[in-house]
């Protein structure tokens, strides 16, 4: 028995070694950095240990802006993209002709580069001295006045960011949900039909519980993904996100490390730990909620 155990650990060793060096150690190090005050990465020195980094970050207007942006993004895009993806998947599942074609079309954004898509969105939404942008032309068509979505008011920029995020995350969700829906044994629907079940009730009482594990998976990963948003904002508003007022938490971390205000690994670490705490809390809440509503078979 002893020997068996030793063998087991031996087999696990390579994986554990890599995970330890490249996952556990950096995580731990970030945690340590976040408490080292005035850490200088060049000289590897610091003045003292304490909560100053957190206090600085939490009082930084840029961080608060990033926090607000990230929360708005999460609260709007996660339910919206999951709901829309569910709707589209159910619709896809109920049509027979051209289903494959539509599936392909809906999946295309997933294989398209984020920055390329961002460029297209900019062309659609941006207002320049020479052109109004396609969306503004449409708005004008219906009698509205032009809005600058890229350099204009906050709500317009936020709208574009949310729109873009939903658009970019939906294909994967549709893919997962269509396969989950296809995996529901049709005999349950037949039984429900014979029992006189209406379509709506069939959806809420049979379809939803049956695909709930997948749905839950998408919600959790959706939350985590949205909290970690960064590249989407860059694709739309350029790299100077603080100036645009559209920074995200991850963006703030990046800026603290590398951009012109950069060279502050301690602040970056503190911000990263705060993000980690938020994501952990939300995921725990999700898990608690799911206990009641997710059915694993």
């Amino acid at each position: 028995m002893e020997k068996q155990n030793q063998k087991g650990w031996l087999y696990l060793l390579p994986a554990l070694l890599f995970l330890g060096i490249f996952m556990v150690y950096p995580l731990f190090d970030v945690f340590v950095y976040s408490f080292e005050e005035g850490y200088n990465s060049a000289s590897q020195t610091f003045y003292g240990i304490g909560g100053y980094n957190y206090s600085y970050v939490l009082h930084d207007a840029y961080f608060l802006q990033a926090l607000k942006n990230t929360f708005i993004l999460v609260i709007i895009t996660v339910p919206l993209s999951t709901g829309l993806a569910l709707f589209i998947s159910v619709a896809l599942n109920s049509i027979k002709p051209l289903r494959e074609l539509f599936q392909t079309i809906f999946f295309l954004p997933y294989v398209t580069n984020t920055l390329a898509v961002g460029l297209v969105f900019m062309i659609l939404f941006k207002k320049t001295p020479y052109s109004e942008g396609l969306i503004n032309l449409l708005i004008n068509c219906f009698g509205g006045s032009s809005v600058d979505f890229i350099d204009g008011p906050y709500w317009a920029k936020m709208f574009v960011l949310c729109f873009y995020t939903v658009w970019i995350v939906m294909p994967f969700k549709i893919l997962i949900l269509t396969s989950a829906l296809a995996g529901v044994n049709p005999v349950y629907y037949n039984a429900a039909k014979v029992d006189g079940t209406g379509r709506l009730r069939m959806f809420f009482k049979i379809t939803l519980p049956m695909i709930s594990p997948m749905l839950f998976y998408l919600v959790i990963t959706g939350f985590i993904g949205a909290f970690k948003a960064y590249s989407d904002a860059v694709a739309l508003f350029g790299t100077n996100l603080n100036a645009a007022g559209m920074n995200t938490i991850v963006g703030y971390v990046y800026d603290m490390l590398y951009r012109d205000s950069g060279g502050y690994p301690s602040y970056a670490s503190a911000a990263a730990i705060i993000l980690f705490a938020i994501v952990l809390t939300i995921t725990c809440i999700n898990l608690l909620v799911s206990k009641k509503h997710v059915h694993y078979h």
């Binding site: 044994n185 005999v187 349950y188 037949n190 039984a191 429900a192 039909k193 014979v194 029992d195 006189g196 079940t197 209406g198 009730r201 009482k205 049979i206 519980p209 049956m210 709930s212 059915h295 078979h297």
Partner: protein, 369 residues
């Protein structure tokens, strides 16, 4: 409620296009039958004979290509399954895995709308009644995954019965149960059907099952109804070779024979003298219980071995004209005392002997002199 099927036909179009198109499959072919109120009817046939399709047509999950279905006098052919109000038990039970037993049974009741809508109290009473009928009162808060096959089956029956359907449909209800439970459950189904008086149609490929509990059996093959009748009648008077072969354990013994000058010959032995029979080659079917040992019997077989079955003895022998490898006959244990030598001679009971046309397999009635 009386269920009437009128020229019911279901054709599944063949797949593919142009030259590659496969032939259409006629799953049910011109099925006409009136199922009397309150009877238990067994649809019997080998796999792929169209019996499950017939059931799906009756409950509305599939639409017939042609023909009509009537519940009493009402034409329900175009109604959706939701509006037909039948109860159905599926082969794998189709219990909703995320609901417990009580919620599963209550599910159909919660679908009722308008004037039929029930209060919570009424629902609870109905669920209790249905659960009591199939004796699962103690399992109400379990999930389907925590039940044995037999218990799941009872829950499925309770769910089908709870809305008090006028027709109950069972698709291979016993096929997922072990042998002992199967015997027990089929008695149970019979009891429940008798207690409720619901017109019940059940599908099976097991002739024992169909024979033992049905009021009427319908034997099907390749979508075509072969014979309809009371189990004993169908057994005693099979309409054709297929029905004769399909019913009965041990199966019927078949011989190549012919009618010549009003004599029925098996091989070269004359077994019966017939009245007014045209000369023709025939299949001769003899039920195992149609043989009696007798010293001067008309049919002589080569004895392989006797098999003791307790009350009876099964004599296994061979005959050159036999279509089966062995001839199996069941005789009284007492009559075996003078069983000796290589050859056994049997006399035959003409009521257990059937003649079938060698081309069509249709039954040829005959009278002996």
């Amino acid at each position: 409620m009386k269920v009437t099927l009128s020229h019911l036909t279901k054709i599944f179009p063949g797949r593919g296009r142009g030259n590659k198109k496969k032939e259409d499959v006629i799953a049910v072919n011109d099925f006409t039958f009136e199922i009397p109120d309150g009877k238990l009817v067994g649809l019997l046939g080998p796999s792929g004979c169209g019996k499950s399709t017939t059931l799906n047509l009756i409950c509305g999950l599939q639409k017939p290509t042609e023909g009509q279905i009537f519940f009493d006098e009402e034409d329900v052919t175009q109604l959706t399954p939701q509006k037909r109000g039948v109860g159905m038990v599926f082969q794998n039970y189709a219990l909703y895995p995320h609901l417990n037993v009580e919620q599963n049974i209550r599910f159909p009741l919660e679908n009722l709308k308008g004037a039929d809508k029930l209060s919570k109290e009424e629902m609870r009473a109905r669920v209790k009644e249905a659960a009591g009928l199939v004796q699962i009162d103690e399992l109400l808060d379990r999930k389907p995954a925590e039940l044995s096959g037999g218990q799941q089956q009872r829950v499925a029956i309770a769910r089908a019965l709870v809305k008090l359907p006028l027709v109950l449909l069972l698709d291979e209800p016993l096929s997922n149960l072990d042998a002992r439970l199967r015997l027990q459950t089929r008695e149970e189904i019979r009891r429940i059907q008798k207690e409720t008086g619901i017109t019940t149609i059940f599908v099976t490929h097991d002739q024992d099952e169909a024979m033992s509990i049905s009021d009427l059996i319908v034997v099907m093959k390749d979508g075509v109804v072969q014979q309809i009748g009371k189990p004993q009648e169908v057994y005693d008077n099979p309409a054709n070779l297929f029905v004769a072969k399909f019913l009965g354990t041990p199966p019927i013994n078949l011989f190549d024979g012919r009618i010549q000058d009003n004599a029925l010959l098996i091989g070269e032995e004359k077994v019966f003298t017939l009245k007014d029979a045209p000369n023709q080659p025939v299949h001769v079917g003899i039920r195992p219980e149609g043989f009696t040992l007798s010293k001067d019997g008309v049919l002589s077989c080569h004895l392989s071995r006797p098999e003791v079955m307790g009350r009876d003895i099964s004599i296994v022998s061979t005959h050159p004209a036999s279509q089966n490898p062995v001839v199996r006959s069941i005789v009284d244990a007492e009559s075996c005392e003078h069983l000796s030598g290589d050859t056994v001679r049997f006399s035959l009971n003409p009521r257990k002997v059937f003649l079938f046309a060698s081309e069509t397999g249709n039954r040829i009635p005959f009278e002996t002199l």
